[in-house]
């Protein structure tokens, strides 16, 4: 018994020694909101490909559920594992502050990828966002306008009432509608929240149709919302009367595009977020990039990236629009 445990101890010791001897590659981990979220498959793909190309170790972990605190033990564990870079899509803008500070104190580079710690930016080193979020609202309004001839009642089906990104966009949409004479004949009649649950999103959508019989378009700037809204329109066979658009995943929306339920919707490339995150992180670590606002650097496939206010950077300037012509070109 004693002999056996001694052997195991020795073996473990050897493993550590050999591990230390090999040139330590940079270890990057990305912590998603929760497992089973198809959105993160695509981001992870970007991380993996970039790491393979640039030579670093990558792992994706995520808690089973997306409540505010569920990521904390995972961050603790990564600190303990001694990774070099933590990328995270935070489940809470502030509940992670303490543990992220602990990570930074250990010299770990903390990047928020696809979602930021709004109001708590000091607790991470930089953030990588897919697009310039100030342009999302106007982009969406323009797309909607083009679908309904810039005239008629529209409504918004959002995620949760407090979702920071969505609220930024909705505010921008309101501004655009109010200020741009091009959209003077479009009126926003309601903003409702489906809490990113299919059931709730569906009942909210049904309620919109019941409350506003003259509705021309629904903007759902959330992947769950747009799918639910499209499904309602599809089952009621009113695609020609009510246009559904917003932000969606091509993989989830392909069918709706093909059967004409949805004419067009928008998104960015989640893949590129992962791709950019790895390039940026490795650049910082080897000193080729300085993490200062206003600096720029080149990334393969993405061109010149500029570090904006609050150390934020975007993979692309404006949203990509998906419709029947290009939907099959995207596999995420």
């Amino acid at each position: 018994m004693l002999k056996k445990s001694l052997l195991i101890g020795l073996a473990a010791g050897f493993a550590m020694v050999t591990g230390a001897l090999a040139a330590d590659p940079i270890k990057i981990v990305y912590i998603g909101k929760n497992t089973g979220n198809p959105y993160f498959d695509s981001i992870t793909g970007g991380f993996e490909d970039a790491c393979e190309k640039l030579g670093c170790e990558f792992e994706f972990v995520a808690p089973a559920t997306a409540e505010a605190t569920s990521q904390i033990p995972f961050i603790e564990a990564q600190i303990q594992r001694g990774v070099n870079v933590i990328g995270i899509a935070p489940n809470s803008p502030d509940a992670l502050n303490q543990v992220l500070d602990a990570a930074k104190a250990k010299g770990i580079l903390v990047l928020t990828v696809n979602g930021d710690l709004v109001g708590n930016e000091s607790h991470r080193d930089a953030t990588i966002l897919p697009v310039d979020f100030t342009k999302t609202g106007p982009n969406q309004i323009e797309l909607t306008g083009s679908l309904i001839g810039y005239e008629g009642e529209i409504a918004i089906l959002s995620a949760t009432t407090e979702a920071p990104d969505q609220n930024t966009w909705i505010a921008a949409m309101n501004e655009t509608l109010k200020n741009d004479p091009k959209y003077a004949k479009m009126t926003l009649v309601a903003t409702v929240y489906g809490d990113d649950q299919p059931e709730k999103s569906t009942t909210e959508m049904e309620a919109l149709l019941a409350n506003y019989p003259n509705l021309k378009a629904v903007i759902a700037p959330t992947t769950v919302g747009i799918a639910a809204a499209a499904q309602v329109v599809q089952s009621r066979g009113i695609a020609d009367k009510v246009a559904v658009t917003g932000l969606g995943l091509p993989s989830e929306m392909r069918d709706f595009i093909k059967d004409g339920t949805v004419k067009a919707f928008q998104l960015w490339s989640p893949y590129n977020e992962g791709w950019l995150a790895v390039h940026f992180a490795l650049g910082l670590l080897d000193g080729s990039i300085k993490n200062e606002v206003g600096n720029t650097f080149e990334v393969e496939n993405l061109g010149t990236i500029k570090i904006e206010e609050k150390n934020a950077m975007n993979t692309q300037a404006e949203l990509t629009t998906f419709d029947i012509n290009n939907i099959d070109d995207f596999n995420f």
């Binding site: 493993a15 497992t35 505010a68 904390i72 564990a77 803008p93 502030d94 509940a95 303490q98 949760t160």
Partner: protein
């Protein structure tokens, strides 16, 4: 009148011989918990070289310390023949009320007081339904669990409420190198362990759980003691909620979501008998460490969270089967 004058009773009436002492001491569920704990430490050290680090394990325990603290009181509730599935939701609602109050300008001590009072009130509502109206606690607390978390959501929506900087970081306060919440857990375990085994209050909890009708007939104020337990767990849950708020620095309605499963698991793994009357604080104390060791070991080894769910479910079922088996063997 002496016994020898009476016709001697047949052999069937004689008392059965008691079990040998070694059996009484060793054949008990706590032994199983302890062995599992050792096995867990060993398995964890085999899974990941980063696991065996006292500071890390203590830090990880801190993340579960609020649940563990409540689980100690829950153990007493279960021994008394009841169960409470609502404390995790209670934690969320108390913390939300506290955070909401302090945000509205109520001084922190007063806000804490109100938070604790609301925890007591939630315990009282459970007590009214279970003791006053004689409804089964398991169904009642499933109802109140939904209600309390729902109310937390009504109060806080899904935004997080910040607490002031100085209030943050109770888990960073170290006493002899041990985080304060862990110290609190250990102290509470010692106190409650003594209360349960050494005081008349504890004695009567066992008696109520063994046979409530008999307890009432023996003049034990069953309603008062059980009400006390529900109030106690309500209060302790509120304390745990506010400790969590200090650890996280912010409060959201989903604080401690799913914590009821962890708490029940700690009590069950520690050999608390689901039908009441049996169990010890020592068992729950060991089980809390076991659970943290198992979870942490898997997280630091980057085991899929799915596997963790499976392991938790299996552990729960195995622990009840084993506990029931041990008790049925030792009970004639």
């Amino acid at each position: 009148m002496s016994a020898s004058e009476m016709p001697s009773a047949p052999s069937s009436q004689d008392a059965a011989p008691p079990r040998p002492t070694w059996q009484v001491v060793l054949v008990r569920p706590e032994t199983m918990t302890f062995l599992l704990l050792i096995a867990g430490v060993f398995a964890g050290s085999q899974l990941s070289p980063f696991f065996l680090d006292v500071a890390y394990i203590l830090r990880s325990f801190t993340l579960y310390s609020e649940f563990a603290i409540v689980a100690l009181v829950l153990t007493m509730v279960i021994i008394a023949g009841e169960i409470d599935l609502s404390p995790a939701a209670n934690m969320a609602l108390s913390a939300c009320i506290f955070a909401w109050m302090q945000q509205a300008g109520v001084p922190i001590p007063l806000a804490i007081g109100i938070g604790l009072l609301s925890g007591l009130a939630m315990g009282a509502l459970n007590a009214i339904f279970v003791i006053g109206l004689q409804l089964p606690s398991i169904i009642v607390t499933i109802g109140t669990l939904t209600l309390y978390r729902g109310l937390a959501q009504v109060i806080a929506g899904d935004k997080s409420i910040r607490v002031p900087e100085w209030f943050i970081g109770i888990d960073k306060v170290m006493i002899g190198g041990i985080p304060l919440p862990v110290v609190a857990f250990i102290l509470l375990a010692i106190v409650l362990g003594f209360v349960l085994s050494g005081t008349i209050f504890g004695r009567q909890i066992y008696q109520i759980g063994t046979n409530e009708v008999a307890a009432r007939h023996a003049g034990i104020r069953t309603a008062r003691i059980k009400t006390g337990l529900f109030l106690g767990i309500g209060l302790v849950a509120a304390i745990a909620g506010i400790v969590t708020a200090s650890r996280l620095g912010s409060v959201r309605y989903d604080l401690g979501l799913g914590g009821e499963l962890q708490m029940v698991l700690m009590a069950m793994l520690g050999g608390t008998y689901i039908f009441g009357g049996r169990g010890t604080i020592l068992g729950t104390f060991l089980a809390a460490w076991l659970l943290v060791i198992v979870s942490t070991g898997m997280i630091v080894a980057n085991v899929l969270p799915a596997v963790q769910l499976v392991v938790l479910g299996v552990l729960l079922i195995v622990s009840i089967v084993a506990t029931n088996f041990i008790y049925s063997r030792t009970q004639r």
